[in-house]
Structures are given as structure tokens and as C-alpha cells.
């Protein structure tokens, strides 16, 4: 490729600039978290005596251990079931193509753009009538429903590309449709399933609206929902708030850094398909 020096240089400078803009808020958060509790530190100044204890205080104040557990339970409730239901339906719409599959699929596609605010009001009364308000199920069950459009569309996009010959061969060997799904197609769908799992994990962990509407007790919410409550309670103590916010960021950041490559591909593909 013909690229001249000057253009490369401009490109580098621009890229670094964009990275700095992305990173600075994180650094500011970190530096602020190290100032003595209750002070109003200015900008990016490094404190005279870094208060590492702030993190421990925030951990205790937000009851972080319990919160992590709660978020994990919610993720464990949402993600496996969404993957299973999404894969089953994606397989049906993309591969079995039963009569009427087009209309069925279209109904799911239409759900892709639905803002959660659009159904939150009746959802509250429905969850209340089911007796689930203030339990983790109040977040888990609706989230599975809300993730269905994306999961189904995502899995269908994978199953559509699977050649019919593959299934024919398995059927000749006497496999039932159920066996065909589990023995042949699920193992082949692992890359699509794992990307979907990453996206669903992230969206569940970061879910805010459902958490604050359907669950009053911050200890039973998602991490993001609990952070909202934490802000309400400690909003005036800036360093403590920053420490808390940073602690709540850590789990997703850690998962992100571990599965970096998968994550980036998943998110890019995710927005293309969504």
C-alpha cells in the first residue's frame, strides 16, 4: 500500500489523542479516589498522601462482596437460559424452517429496536402480580424475554449458514431432530454461542433500568443498579464515590481484558447484526 510518512504521522497523533481522551476520565476517577474522604479535590492532582484505604471503605460501604454475589447470581440466571432458548429458536428459524417461520422470525426482528422504557410500566405491575417484586427473578425473567430478539436473530444468522447436507447425513444415520441439534449443530455453533454469551453477560451486568424499577434492595440488584443507589447515598463524598465507582468497574474491566479479542469481535459483530 502506498502511504506516505506524513499521513502515517498524522494518523498516529490522532489515534493517541483519541486514546488520551478515552483514558483521562478513568485516571481522574482513580486519582480522585485516593484523596482524603470528604474533600473536594481538584482535577488531576496527585494527593499528598494517597488514601488507599478509601477502596476498603467503599468496599464495606457498598457491601461489595454481597453485590458481586448478587450480580453473579443474576448473570447465571440470565445467560445460560438465554443462550439455550436463543439457540433452539435460532435453529428452528434458520435451519428447520417450519411452515410460517418467516413471520415468526419477523416478530423477533421487530423487537430488536424496542427501548426497555417502552414496556417498563406494565412490566412493573406484571412482575408485582407474579409476586416477584424485590427478588432477583424480577430482573432475571424479564431480561431473558428482552434478550430473546437479539439472541434469536444472532443464532439464526449462524444456523442459516449451516449446509443442509450436514443434517441430511446425520438423519440418514438415524438421528432425531433433537439429537441432530445437540450432537451436530450445538458443537459447531460454539463460536457464535460464546460471543453471544459475552454480550449477554455485559448487558446483564450493566443493566440499570430494570434493577432500579423492579428491585428496591440494592443488595439484590445488578452492579450497575447498585452503583445508582451508592451514588444516592454517598454522592456528596466525592473520593468515596469515585472509589466505589472504580470498584464496580473492576469486574467488567477484568473480564474484558481477559477475553479482549473475543469481546471486540463480539461487540463489533453484535452491533452489525443488531
Amino acid at each position: 500500500m502506498i502511504v506516505n510518512r506524513r499521513e502515517t504521522l498524522i494518523g498516529r497523533v490522532l489515534l493517541v489523542l483519541l486514546m488520551v481522551i478515552t483514558i483521562v476520565p478513568f485516571i481522574s476517577l482513580f486519582v480522585t479516589a485516593l484523596h482524603p474522604a470528604g474533600t473536594y479535590p481538584s482535577g488531576l492532582s496527585w494527593p499528598d498522601s494517597p488514601q488507599w484505604g478509601n477502596f476498603a471503605d467503599a468496599f464495606r460501604a457498598a457491601n461489595m462482596g454481597k453485590l458481586l454475589w448478587s450480580s453473579c447470581l443474576i448473570v447465571l440466571g440470565v445467560v445460560p437460559l438465554s443462550l439455550l432458548f436463543g439457540a433452539l429458536a435460532g435453529f428452528a428459524f434458520g435451519h428447520l424452517r417450519m411452515p410460517g417461520h418467516r413471520i415468526g422470525f419477523l416478530v423477533f426482528v421487530l423487537g430488536l429496536t424496542l427501548p426497555f422504557e417502552g414496556i417498563i410500566t406494565p412490566l412493573y405491575y406484571q412482575v408485582r402480580d407474579m409476586g416477584l417484586l424485590n427478588t432477583r427473578w424480577a430482573i432475571i425473567l424479564p431480561l431473558i424475554g428482552l434478550f430473546m430478539p437479539f439472541s434469536v436473530v444472532w443464532m439464526r444468522a449462524h444456523f442459516v449458514t449451516m449446509p443442509d447436507d450436514l443434517s441430511e447425513a446425520a438423519r440418514i444415520d438415524g438421528a432425531s431432530t433433537w439429537q441432530l441439534f445437540w450432537r451436530v449443530h450445538v458443537p459447531l455453533a460454539m463460536p457464535a454461542l460464546s460471543s453471544l454469551a459475552i454480550l449477554l453477560f455485559l448487558w446483564t451486568w450493566n443493566q440499570f433500568l430494570l434493577a432500579i424499577v423492579l428491585v428496591d434492595d440494592p443488595q439484590k440488584r445488578t452492579m450497575a443498579g447498585a452503583l445508582g443507589a451508592f451514588q444516592g447515598q454517598w454522592g456528596t463524598d466525592i473520593p468515596l464515590l469515585c472509589a466505589g465507582a472504580l470498584l464496580i468497574l473492576v469486574p467488567t474491566l477484568a473480564v474484558f481484558l481477559i477475553f479482549q479479542r473475543r469481546f471486540v469481535t463480539a461487540l463489533l459483530q453484535g452491533s452489525i447484526k443488531g
Partner: protein
């Protein structure tokens, strides 16, 4: 989709009973979707025709709630604000993303770009709530934004950006732009990497400069990616909730009130369920009305 019709017919004929089996596979997904999305959606539409406080009896008011969206200046303002946010959530990240992606295309394979891919994704990974908290601090009266302004001698511009009637909405928009610019840049960059490099070689040999190259090669090839970026960001703007809730709670006054937050307040603190539902229906339709044309524009040509 490319399966020959005859093959499919033959298979169906061989196992006539299994033809409907697919619906059994789709059943769990359909049940969850119907119970927790479609049913509430229908109820939203139903509630929107009533005046109801959530506890007592409800009265049928027909289209009154919808009429109020257009006559009540406070409610209508939320929709106007949502559109103003599109400028920051959508136009700024997409245009900036295009510019940056086009500039760094030449070094897309370098180590620096690999690092950038990770760094630029950070805002996408963290909860929007956390982004809101970070930025409320940065934009506060003693925050970094003001400190930088003072450092370059623009003291008179400093203010509490999120607390000022004139700047609160753009400040909220800025937070959204920060969250979305990385995603847009990387989406567009991924699209650019699919363009045949020989096109650029040919353009260079014909004496085209970077600008000409951008408009005749890059932009037309990115139709789909641009469509995706605009769709994702426009939905984020119209349905914004988390950031506004944390950063301003709709204030000062109502200057940053958006439909999502207004629905929340109407339904759960003012107990105007009917009005909240009407606004919810309006929001759902608004998103569809904006997103569907974008999809048509950007998809049809490329298929």
C-alpha cells in the same frame, strides 16, 4: 437461504409430521418473549388510553394522553431534547469516527492500532452509570474540564457544566459522545479493512489525494457500516436513560429531561400510568420511525 426449493420440498415430503416440529424448538423463546415483552407492550398501548394512578379505578380518556404530549410544552420538550441528543450521540461520534478511521487506515495493522482497539472499547464495557458518575465529576465546578479552561486562560468560561441551563444538555451529549465514539471508530475501521487495497493503489496512481480518496472510495464502500453506527447511536440517543438519570436527573429545571426518564418519573413517582404509557408508545414509534428509514437507505443498495 440458497437451498434449492426441490431439496427442501423433498425433505418435507419425507417427514410430513416433523414439519411443525420447528415450532416446538422455538417455543421457549416465544413464551419468554410473549410473556415479558409482547404482553407488556400490548398493555402499554392499552394503559395509554386511560387515566390511572396505579391503584384506584381507571377512566377511559381516549387519545387525551397523546394530545397532551403535543400540547404540554414540558412533555413535548423531552422529545425535542431526545432529538438534540442525536446530534451528540450520533452525528459527532459517526463523523469523528469516519475522520479518525480514514486517517488511521494506513496504520490499522500496527501495534499502536492494536492497543487502540482495546483502549477505545473501554467506554463500551463499563456500565453507563459509571460513565455518568465519572463525567459528573469531570464536568463539576471543580472538575478537570474547568481546570483545563483556567489553565489556558479561559476562566470566564468555567461553570458547573451539568448545572447550567444553557450547557447541561450539550454536557450530557458530550458524555454520550465519549461513550460511543470508540465504538463508531472501530466499526468503521473494520469496514474499511474490507475494502480492496488495490482500489487505493489505483487512486494514488491516478493522482488522487486523501480527500478525494475518502469521498470516492472509502465513503461509498462503508454504506452498511455507517448505517449500523447511525442506527445504534440514534437508538442510544432516543432511549437514553442511565446517563441522564445519574448526571442530571433531568435538571436543572427540565432542561435535560428525556422521554425515557420522564416515563420513569411519570410512572413511578407521579403515578400517572396512562400518561407514562402514552409517552412510552410515542417513544417506541419514534425509534421505529427514525431507524427503519436508515435501515432502508443503507441496506437496500448493498444487497
Amino acid at each position: 437461504m440458497s437451498v434449492p426449493i426441490t431439496g427442501r420440498r423433498a425433505r418435507r415430503a419425507r417427514r410430513p409430521r416433523a414439519a411443525w416440529l420447528g415450532w416446538l424448538f422455538a417455543l421457549p423463546a416465544i413464551l419468554m418473549y410473549a410473556t415479558f415483552v409482547l404482553r407488556p407492550l400490548v398493555l402499554t398501548v392499552q394503559y395509554s388510553f386511560y387515566d390511572w394512578n396505579g391503584i384506584g379505578a381507571s377512566t377511559w380518556v381516549g387519545l387525551d394522553n397523546y394530545r397532551r404530549i403535543f400540547t404540554d410544552s414540558e412533555l413535548f420538550a423531552t422529545i425535542v431534547h431526545a432529538f438534540e441528543l442525536i446530534v451528540f450521540f450520533s452525528f459527532v461520534p459517526v463523523l469523528l469516527g469516519l475522520f479518525v478511521a480514514a486517517t488511521i487506515r494506513g496504520i490499522a495493522a500496527s501495534r499502536l492500532a492494536a492497543v487502540a482497539r482495546t483502549v477505545l472499547f473501554l467506554p463500551q464495557v463499563i456500565p453507563l452509570v459509571a460513565a455518568g458518575i465519572m463525567w459528573s465529576w469531570l464536568l463539576s465546578s471543580t472538575g478537570l474540564a474547568n481546570e483545563l479552561l483556567s489553565a489556558v486562560g479561559l476562566d470566564r468560561l468555567t461553570r458547573a457544566w451539568l448545572g447550567d441551563f444553557g450547557t447541561a444538555l450539550p454536557a450530557v451529549g458530550l458524555i454520550g459522545a465519549w461513550v460511543l465514539v470508540g465504538l463508531c471508530t472501530l466499526l468503521l475501521l473494520a469496514g474499511m479493512s474490507k475494502i480492496d487495497p488495490s482500489l487505493y493503489e489505483a487512486a494514488r496512481l491516478d493522482g488522487a489525494g486523501p480527500v478525494r480518496e475518502f469521498f470516492s472510495i472509502t465513503l461509498p464502500s462503508l454504506r452498511q457500516e455507517i448505517g449500523v453506527s447511525v442506527t445504534v447511536t440514534v437508538i442510544a440517543a432516543l432511549a437514553s436513560f442511565d446517563i441522564v438519570y445519574i448526571a442530571t436527573q433531568g435538571g436543572p429545571g427540565n432542561s435535560t429531561m428525556v422521554p425515557g426518564l420522564e416515563i420513569y418519573y411519570l410512572a413511578f413517582s407521579e403515578r400517572e400510568i396512562g400518561m407514562a404509557s402514552a409517552l412510552a408508545v410515542a417513544l417506541v414509534l419514534l425509534v421505529l420511525a427514525v431507524v427503519l428509514p436508515i435501515q432502508r437507505l443503507t441496506r437496500d443498495g448493498s444487497r
